[in-house]
Subunit: 196 residues, 2 copies
DNA sequence: GTATCAACAGACCGACAGTCGGTTTGTCAA
DNA sequence: TTGACAAACCGACTGTCGGTCTGTTGATAC
C-alpha cells in the first residue's frame, strides 16, 4: 500500500501546484476546472476522486498558502521575546509576504468570497488571528491595553495590516512602499498599544 | 419621449430592487440571472437591454447600497463641526449601517470579489474613503497625526471599522455588540488620533 | 491466482450566463 | 393621420462549466 498512496499524494500535490498558479493568475472564477485538468494533464475522474469540488481544491490551495505565510512569520519572530516587538516583527513579515501575488489573490481576495466571510474568518482564527490574540493577551497583561478589548484589537489590527499589505502590493514602487508601510505599521502599533 | 424613458427607468429600478434582495439572501454566485428574471417577471432580453451582464447589474445594486449608507452618514454627522467628533459619529453610523444584511453581503463580502480588489477600492475611494481622508486632513492640521500619514490612517481606519462592523453583524446579541463596538471604536479613535 | 480497492478515465448531464434575430410600442416630423 | 425610427422587450438558442456516473487499470493482501 505504498506505491498507490504515493501516487495519490503526488497527484494531489501536482493538482494543488497547478491550481495555485491558475487561481493566482486568473482568480477563482476565472479559472475553470477544465483549465486545471488540461494544465495538470489529469483526468476529470482523478480530480474529483481527490477533491469533492472546485471549492475543495481551492481550500487545499489556500492551506498551502497559509502554511507558507505562517512559516515566514515564524522565521521573522524567531528569538524575539517581547510581545510588542514580536507583534511588530510579525506584522512586518506579513506585509512582506503579500509581495507574493499568490497571497494577495488567493488569501486576501478570493478566500473571503469563496469560503464565505464566516468560514474564512474561522480559518483565519485558527491561523493568524489566533497568534495575534495570544500576543495581545501578553501585551494586555502589561497593562498597555484593556484585557476585555484583546479580541477587538486583534481584529482591528489584522484587518488594518491586511489593508496596508494590499496597499503596498498595489504601489508602483514596491520596495519604497514596503519600507514606508513597515515604518508606518510600527507607529500604528505604538499608538494602538499605548504607552509602554 | 417620456412614457418610454419612464418605463425603462421603472424596469431598471424594479430589477435592482429584486436583485438586491436575491443577492443579499443567496450571494452573488448563488443568485442566477434566471432567478432574477423570474422574481422580477422580466424577460432575458429586457434585462440584457439595460445591463451589460450580471456584474453590471451587481454594480447597479452596489450603487444604491452605497447611496443608502452615505445618506445615513450624512444624517449622523449633521451639525457636528469638530473633525474628530465627526469621524466618531460617522464610524458609529457605519457600524449601525452594517446591521443591514444587504450592506454586509453586497458591500462587504461580494463587492471585493466581484469587482476585484482594485475596482472595489476605487469605488470605495470615491465614497467612504474620500470622506475619511478629508476629515483626517483636518485632524492632521490640528497636529494630532502627521500629514503624510493621512492616507495610511484613512485606510487602516476604514478597514478596521469594516472589520468591527462585520464582528457586530455576526454577534448573537446584536444590540449589545453594537453598543460595545461603538464604545470600543471611540477608544480606538482616541488612540489612533493621539492626544488632542 | 484471485479478490479487493484506491486511482484513474472520459462520456455525459443539467444549469447557467450571455447572444441574436425578431416584435411591440411610444414619439415625432411631415 | 401616417410612416419612419428607436427604445424597450421577447424568448429560443448556444457555448461553457461544474459535477456525475459507469466503467477500467493496476497494486496489494491473502
Amino acid at each position: 500500500m505504498n506505491k498507490k498512496i504515493d501516487r495519490g499524494q503526488a497527484t494531489r500535490d501536482h493538482l494543488v501546484a497547478v491550481a495555485t498558479g491558475l487561481f493566482t493568475e486568473h482568480g477563482y472564477d476565472g479559472t475553470s476546472i477544465e483549465a486545471v485538468l488540461k494544465a495538470a494533464d489529469v483526468s476529470r475522474g482523478a480530480l474529483y476522486h481527490h477533491y469533492a469540488g472546485k471549492d475543495a481544491l481551492f481550500a487545499a490551495v489556500l492551506d498551502t498558502v497559509y502554511e507558507r505565510v505562517e512559516a515566514d512569520g515564524v522565521v521573522a519572530t524567531r528569538g524575539v521575546t517581547d510581545p510588542a516587538e514580536t507583534l511588530r516583527a510579525a506584522c512586518q513579515a506579513w506585509i512582506r509576504s503579500t509581495g507574493d501575488p499568490v497571497v494577495r489573490q488567493v488569501l486576501l481576495i478570493d478566500a473571503p468570497a469563496v469560503l464565505g466571510w464566516q468560514r474564512w474568518r474561522e480559518a483565519d482564527e485558527r491561523r493568524t488571528l489566533g497568534s495575534i490574540k495570544a500576543l495581545l493577551r501578553r501585551v494586555a497583561a502589561d497593562g498597555r491595553i484593556p484585557v476585555p478589548r484583546v479580541d477587538f484589537y486583534a481584529h482591528v489590527l489584522l484587518a488594518g495590516v491586511n489593508e496596508i499589505a494590499m496597499l503596498v502590493a498595489r504601489a508602483e514602487d514596491h520596495a519604497a512602499a514596503a519600507a514606508d508601510a513597515a515604518e508606518a505599521t510600527g507607529e500604528l502599533l505604538d499608538r494602538l498599544l499605548g504607552p509602554q
